[in-house]
Amino acid sequence: MTAPSTGASRAAARRTRTPWPGSAGHTFVAAYTVLLVAFGVVPTGYAIYFAFTDNADSFAGLSNFSTAFDDFRFGPAVGHVVLYLAWWLVSLVVFVVGLALLVHRMAMKGLSRLLRFLYYVPGALAGAAGVLVWLFVLDPTVSPVGFLLRALGYHAFGQVIAPGHLPVLFTLIAFWTGAGGWIVVMYGALNNIPADILEAARIDGAGALQTAWRIQIPMLRKWIVYMVILAFAGGTQLFVEPQLLSQASNGVAGRDYSLNQLAYDFAFQNNDVNTAAAVSVELLVVGLVVAGVFVARSGFFDAD
């Protein structure tokens, strides 16, 4: 619409537009909402429906949940995912924050751009492709770092992928493919900390470590919480790494490893979509509860 020429009508136009202060924003959100409903809300609703019905479409109460709980693969899968999450979340928080601080300190030395690029490159590979790269890296026979693996006493792929190593290996793969993006985000957040605060700290005699520990990390808190919430939700849905490892190792490692794989197996190996849905609903509930706890305890939505 072209702008009206008279002052009165301009004022009228302004009045009618006030309820919609950012119509462009709403347009963008509308497109997102459509996708969210189609690929997020509707499937979730349908999964919940499946989780509480049996294969004849009649109400089944919690029987699908108890079927999943009683399955011999369920307990070990929960254990695997918890162990993996412990490794993954701790290493993510420590190394992402540490590396972001490092990059930020190097900003003045000109190395920062190169490092940021290097951190981000692995993330640019699609997830599955990144995992495939690791399957080669971890095979002492073909690995470019095979000498390292052999020095550690691993001479065959089967020794590297021993069951006890898997949480660490999956953490390595996930960190390599996913952490780069977070480092860039944290770096951006560090840049938002006003320079005068850092200068004040320096004048007060704070060194690099003290500045990081007392100024920068506290001011990054919300970003860290945000990262942990998303990483937790992603981590509980561990699937690609064990699934590909399972195929690459002919099923020696990674079969039925995570809860998501178990859901997949229920649906497609045991032909039990309802129990598969129950497992996915459990993951949804755990993700929501943990996000709720983190949001509530961190004051995530409090205004500064």
């Binding site: 089967g158 002919n250 045991n270």
Partner: protein, 456 residues
Amino acid sequence: MRAKVRAVGAQASGRTRRRTGLVAAGGVLVLAVTAACGSGGGGGTSGSGGFHPVKQTGGTLTVWVDSTRLPAAKLYQRQHPEVKMDIVTYDGDANGSNYLRTKVSLFNRTRKGWPDVVFSSQNNEATWAVQDGFAAPLNKGRIPASTLSGWAKGANAPCTVDGTLYCLRNDLSQAVLWYNEPLMKQWGYQVPRTWEEYQALGEKVATEHPGYLIGSAGDPWTPEVYMWASKCGANQVTGPKAVTVDTSGPNCTRMASLLDTLIKNKSMSLSSVFSSDFDKNKAGKVLMLAGPSWYGGSVFQGTFKTPAHQIAAAPLPQWSGDTAPSTGNVGGGTWLLSAHSANLKAATAFMTWVTTSNDYQGKTAPGYPAFQAAATAWLAQQASSGYYAGDITGTLQTAADQVWDGWGYGQFSQEAVWAATVTPKLTAGRTVTSLLPAWKDAIVNYARADGYKVAR
């Protein structure tokens, strides 16, 4: 008319991230919503007896094959240009990928999309395909009994459910003892005829020629070569949904102790013959290798690139005193006919041709044909190829009839159970003998998860 060839398996990998599982599950749900079908679950016919074909409207014959069987479908298209074919390649369900079952369960929900004929590299597809209403019965009028009697003894056992035949066996995978003939001669060794001799030779090799191998226990099909041949009762499928599992009998423990001895003295490898480790470090040091009939072409000629005139085949050793010779079996693909096909006549004609014709099975098939007349032609072809050090015909033919029938074809994968339960612990230094109870528990668990009634 030209055949359309496209790959569906390729889509399975690709842009997958950690959310794939949920997205996949979500995809199922969305499909189910859009199809707006009534009750989910099984599509069409029930398993036994009451097969009611859909209206036979003809049209394009959709055939799913793996890349190894692609030449077969293409050859049929060339010989029968009047048949309109859509040839689709997929992973053939290799390594228990479950691709076919996944797809069929989706098609059952959307009530369309089933292929007319499918090849699977797995021989246990009938166990679910009948239950899911996908496989059409093949005897009882569809394929003449005179044709069906041409299959090797027991070849179609995995395809038979309650006396009805639901698939056709493509190839047999009877286990034999492959060995390097010039090397055996050079070192003055006799090919062992009993497992006792085999073990003694392994101990000799370990001291006289350390590094050389007389077998591998690192493959998922290790139990199918050694335990099956030893008549170990770990997989006695007694009914469509019943299995007896016993891994503690003497038939199991004697083989476990043999494996332990040879693994310990390193004359038996713990790497899979298809692993990079085996290919790089061990392929040139194979003195003997117990394995299925397809090892000759696929492992020695194809993967190891062993030169011609070296590899020969002998019958798998037997336990001394055992009067009924037995061997194991590793796979052997199957062809299934869709119960939803609107083109049953053309589909049946194709299935019959692809499993029995000398043009394909006799001349170009990579594995030992399950159809006897084709097997004879195939063996003649192998003999004339001049690759092997001796004639392997007699050995393979005899072994084809000696596959022990006490090891069944269940829905759960014995290979997957062994790979996940036993292999990692062997790698960590445990013995097969100490793992027999854990192996049994795992079989029982997986069988129960598939709805089997388990007797111990």
